[in-house]
Amino acid sequence: MSDQAGNGSKRNGGPENATAQSFELKVGLAEMLKGGVIMDVVNPDQAKIAEDSGACAVMALERVPSDIRRDGGVARMCQVEIVEAIQRTVSIPVMAKVRIGHYLEAQVLDALGVDFIDESEVLTPADEEHHVDKTTFRSPFVCGARDLGEALRRISEGAAMIRTKGEAGSGNIVEAVRHLRAVFGQIRSLAALAPEEVPARAKELRAPLDLVRRVAETGRLPVPNFAAGGIATPSDAALCRALGAEAVFVGSGIFKSGNPAVLGRAIVRATTHWNEPDELVAACRGLGKPMEGIEMETLDEKQRMANRGW
């Protein structure tokens, strides 16, 4: 923890006048979002389309990841007026993104009463060493992870939900698959260890021993585990579910496609019925043009959003 000044005793934390909510209430909402699709939206009109398509929540952000990738510049938290307009427009939970480590943006969203804060690698990081201390906020946090160690580091900071990162704005599912396989593969291999072997593994994972022990004993993360990054089709969403993701985030995929309402409904359907081939066929029919995808080899390391966060 760095020695930041100016925030009294609540360094890197939530608003002074708010009592942090208990972890069980935060995880409780994450539980309720399982089996659903959380859609990125940049304005109230998109939020309405998302709700009408069956989204279980919307994620407010300034620009969708593919536009951030194309236009460059610093990507920040969504404007306050837009967050408020989205909150007035829809009845489903409203999430919003903050820059990694930007706990003042997080305080703004907490004060607005957003339902979940995403400390997200998709925005330009504000702090290259420290993530937000998520325990002191009222709003629950979701954070991205590429593997089990990163997931447990975020949980130890107070995250109430993990989403594998994938590669946002790429329209390419390969990184989401890599990260889901990493998290679940590492959980499975932990379960095979003898108790005295767990501390060394915790060091390798760079994660707190108590959390690593808990995962070794239960065979699962202590919070819900969703998938994000590169989901562009109903089959992509179903693949993430098949690999163990309990729900999916869809960013650029929906509103960069030819027909967002139709594709949104189809991805919702595929997320519910991921293991029913007949339903998947129906979900895949009549979708029009999906978003353009990017081959990973054409992105250099600096262009990869998943590499942000530590």
């Binding site: 069980e24 539980e31 309720m32 399982k34 069956g54 279980c56 009845s91 709003s139 919702v268 359907r269």
Partner: protein
């Protein structure tokens, strides 16, 4: 079908369906398994065949409603309930069981003569846990973006309240809570559903 636990008082042959369109399915499944009954996911009308009870879980009522509509489950659940099948709805499930829904209404099943007001307590930052007042002593109730129930009809039994508002209600074979019994280890709400199922069997 998940195997039942023969050690428990509830008949192991009881089969509980859990509507698995979206929401907290696994936690309800775990509660049913702890109570000694078997469970199965319900995603289509055909999945209701042979069930002794049904759970409409918490989740997003708009999402679940659209999913029920798409697969034709509204009519099938209505028929199941009308034939005496016990149904438990929690949070979003309670909204879907109400006679009427206020504030961003969704289509409801009308299994309980009551009005559900969506998101009546506010957003997630207003979610809370407390102890409910009623027959079940010390019932710890967790409310997540909960609805509020008002104007219960003459056939509605209020089994628990918080600040005077009904939070656990029953009308014949239909049970509903605005809190989440699946988030706590207290198994009494699920036991109430299984008792209704057992009575119907015998």
């Amino acid at each position: 079908m998940v195997a039942a636990n023969p050690q428990h008082p509830f008949a192991a042959e009881l089969r509980v369906g859990i509507v698995s369109i979206q929401g907290a399915v696994q936690l309800h499944a775990a509660a049913i398994a702890r109570a000694g009954a078997a469970w199965a996911p319900v995603r289509h009308a055909r999945d209701l065949a042979g069930l002794d009870a049904l759970i409409l879980p918490g989740g997003e009522s708009t999402t679940i409603s659209k999913g029920l509509e798409r697969v034709g489950l509204y009519e099938a659940i209505e028929a199941f309930a009308q034939s005496g099948g016990p149904v438990l709805g929690t949070c979003a499930g309670a909204i879907l069981m109400a006679r009427e829904v206020e504030d961003f209404p969704v289509r409801s099943l009308g299994l309980i003569d009551i009005i559900a007001v969506r998101n009546a307590y506010g957003t997630q930052v207003d979610s809370f846990a407390t102890v409910a007042q009623g027959e079940l002593e010390g019932l710890r109730a967790i409310f997540i973006r909960a609805p509020r129930l008002k104007r219960p009809g003459p056939d509605v039994e209020v089994l628990a309240r918080v600040d005077g508002w009904p939070v656990f209600i029953r009308q014949r074979n239909a049970l509903a809570t605005t809190f989440h019994p699946e988030l706590t280890p207290d198994g009494r709400v699920h036991a109430a559903l299984l008792e209704l199922a057992q009575k119907r069997q015998s």
